[in-house]
């Protein structure tokens, strides 16, 4: 199954040219990428995973940056920190957390935040991100990215906590949209309206997971372009690209498949709307040979250059 999908992807890779990328009429124009714009474009990156530590150090592949899962390095010593430091010597990094529980109703975990801050001091990431969700309640961690209701109470609650975190870390953070399988009776707006309100009120940035937009659009029956056009371009700092499991009635964000055509197509649309945005392949399970991920990353690079021309060169 994996081989079939990779073959499909490579077929696209081999045939894509700038002329294939025509703007569709419902897409807003590319945002202003003039020097006055403050967004930092790191280029094309990859999630750092243990399977590839030695390959990366041995081959120093042409990857512009790595994203590390913050919690994986909240340890005292050993292999993880060794490779983190060694790879950091060669590549810029960003940090991505899964346990901040910014939408949770327990008090912020100060011990966790202290470890997060210590890690920022260790590797000096270009930025730090986590998810727009809650991950625990009543002292219990669910280790899942639980969806929030899209209402005013949640906006105020999350925005206030983001400000606390940003004050503690001394930097703006990015929040990522999660895939979801439920929506709440008490939601008062669309996901993208909620997401926008949170980042505006908190004054933080957005990590748009293109796959998650697709997954949630299938699960909740909305138009992906409404989402892409509905969020503020100036706050979009990073993209995730990933794969999913399609069960027809619902789609699950598994991150264990190659990026499918549907997500590549949405990525093109997102680039047209937002301009150059640091983009990475996020693979979390059923890890393929490293070259397969590099192929996906080069495909993203090719799409970026096709859509944006020189503006996408890092």
């Amino acid at each position: 199954m994996i081989n079939k999908q990779v073959t499909d992807k490579q077929a696209i890779q081999n045939t894509l040219t700038p002329s294939d990328v025509d703007p569709s009429p419902n897409e807003k124009p590319i945002r202003d990428c003039s020097p006055g714009n403050s967004r930092e474009f790191l280029g094309y990156g990859m999630g750092l995973r243990t399977d590839y530590y030695e390959t990366i150090l041995d081959e120093l592949p042409e990857i512009d940056w790595f994203e590390v899962i913050s919690e994986n390095y909240m340890v005292k010593g050993g292999k993880a920190l060794y490779y983190l430091d060694a790879i950091r010597e060669h590549y810029p990094m960003v940090m991505h957390g899964v346990s901040l529980s910014i939408g949770g109703t327990d008090a912020l975990d100060l011990d966790y935040l202290a470890q997060l801050k210590a890690l920022t001091q260790r590797i000096e990431p270009r930025w730090v991100s986590d998810h727009l969700c809650w991950t625990g309640q009543g002292g219990h961690n669910l280790h899942d990215l639980m969806p929030l209701p899209y209402n005013r109470e949640a906006i105020s609650h999350v925005a206030q906590r983001v400000q606390q975190v940003q004050d503690f870390l001394g930097r703006q953070i990015l929040l990522e949209n999660v895939s979801s399988y439920v929506s709440y009776q008490h939601s008062e707006m669309s996901e993208w309206e909620f997401y926008t309100a949170v980042v505006e009120e908190a004054d933080c940035l957005m990590l748009l997971d293109i796959n998650n937009i697709y997954v949630s659009s299938r699960n909740h029956h909305f138009d992906v372009m409404d989402y892409i056009n509905g969020v503020p371009a100036q706050r979009v700092q990073q993209f995730h690209l990933a794969g999913h499991e399609d069960n027809d009635d619902f789609v699950v964000d598994t991150h264990d498949h190659p990026v499918p055509d549907s997500v590549w197509a949405l990525y093109q649309s997102a680039l047209k709307r937002f301009g150059p945005v640091s983009t990475m392949i996020e693979r979390d399970d059923r890890m393929p040979p490293f070259d397969e991920l590099l192929g996906e990353l080069n495909h993203a690079r090719k799409i970026g250059q096709a859509v944006l021309g020189n503006a996408a060169k890092q």
Partner: protein
């Protein structure tokens, strides 16, 4: 919202004026995941494509599956010995007994020894708890704090008159434990996909001890001789070299050989990166 909402009793939650607070909503959701409490379902939208309870089931299935996967990675031997279904059942019981309280999954499995010791039918197979000790010790050594590593060269620099009061600081990754079952061959067989060669769990003739530590980036283990285990306890308790020698009294036939035996064991620790400092 653009969901195609199905008008059914399943979605007849309270109206906007009666909306649950964020905290109540999250509490209900958590209770659904952890206790199958259905209060949350009235707050979840059903659609033609998928009813609210089917949507919720995606989360509850993922909850147990994710935590079982974490336990399976931590306790490979136990999962192989029990088989996939039995281990998943164990994982569900464990998860209900010890829900995660740490932001990192790294710590989720830390109660496994207690669980296996206290819970039937696992406590009727005591080698499972002993294997859990072994596997958790491996994890502990794997990411133990980094520290200096003392060498034979460092030992050679110590003046003879300073040896009696010499303090030996073990590397933070060094841990050891006692066991009564044949857990080392069991662990070796179950960790090398040699399921046809897994030995029958057997009680040993006597208690044995095993030390686990990290040498550079590789986690190592080996059995301990009786006198070496005593010396590890001695230095861990703050004993100096003269106290190490005293600890060997009765274990070495010739009292004049006590310092030689202690020095020999210390040398093996130095060679294997088990010592941080000689002070």
């Amino acid at each position: 919202m653009s969901d195609h909402v199905v008008p059914s009793s399943a979605q007849s939650g309270p109206g906007k004026s009666g909306s649950p607070s964020l905290k109540d909503l999250q509490t209900d959701f958590k209770r659904y995941l952890m206790h199958k409490d259905g209060a949350i379902s009235g707050h979840i939208v059903s659609t033609q494509a998928l009813a609210n309870n089917a949507r919720l089931a995606i989360y509850s299935n993922a909850y147990y599956a994710r935590l079982a996967e974490s336990l399976e990675k931590d306790y490979v031997s136990i999962s192989v010995l029990l088989g996939e279904d039995a281990f998943y059942s164990l994982s569900e019981q464990y998860t209900d007994t010890y829900p995660s309280t740490n932001p990192s999954l790294r710590w989720f499995g830390r109660h496994m020894v207690d669980f296996l010791t206290r819970t039937s039918p696992y406590n009727e197979l005591p080698y499972l708890a002993e294997l859990a000790v072994f596997e958790w010790t491996f994890i502990t050594a794997f990411d133990a704090p980094d520290d200096n590593v003392a060498t034979e060269h460092d030992a050679a620099q110590i003046q003879p008159e300073k040896w009696p009061n010499l303090k030996i600081k073990l590397h933070p990754s060094v841990h050891w434990f006692a066991y009564q079952w044949n857990i080392l061959p069991l662990w070796q067989a179950t960790n090398h996909n040699a399921s046809d060669a897994i030995p029958v769990p057997t009680l040993l003739d006597g208690t044995e001890q095993c030390v686990v530590w990290r040498q550079r980036l590789t986690t190592q283990y080996r059995t301990l001789d009786h006198d070496e285990a005593i010396l590890l306890s001695c230095v861990a308790d703050g004993g100096d070299f003269s106290q190490m020698c005293e600890a060997l009294v009765g274990l070495v036939d010739d009292p004049n050989q006590l310092p030689m035996r202690a020095a020999s064991i210390l040398k093996s620790w130095l060679v294997n990166d088990m010592i941080s400092r000689l002070e």
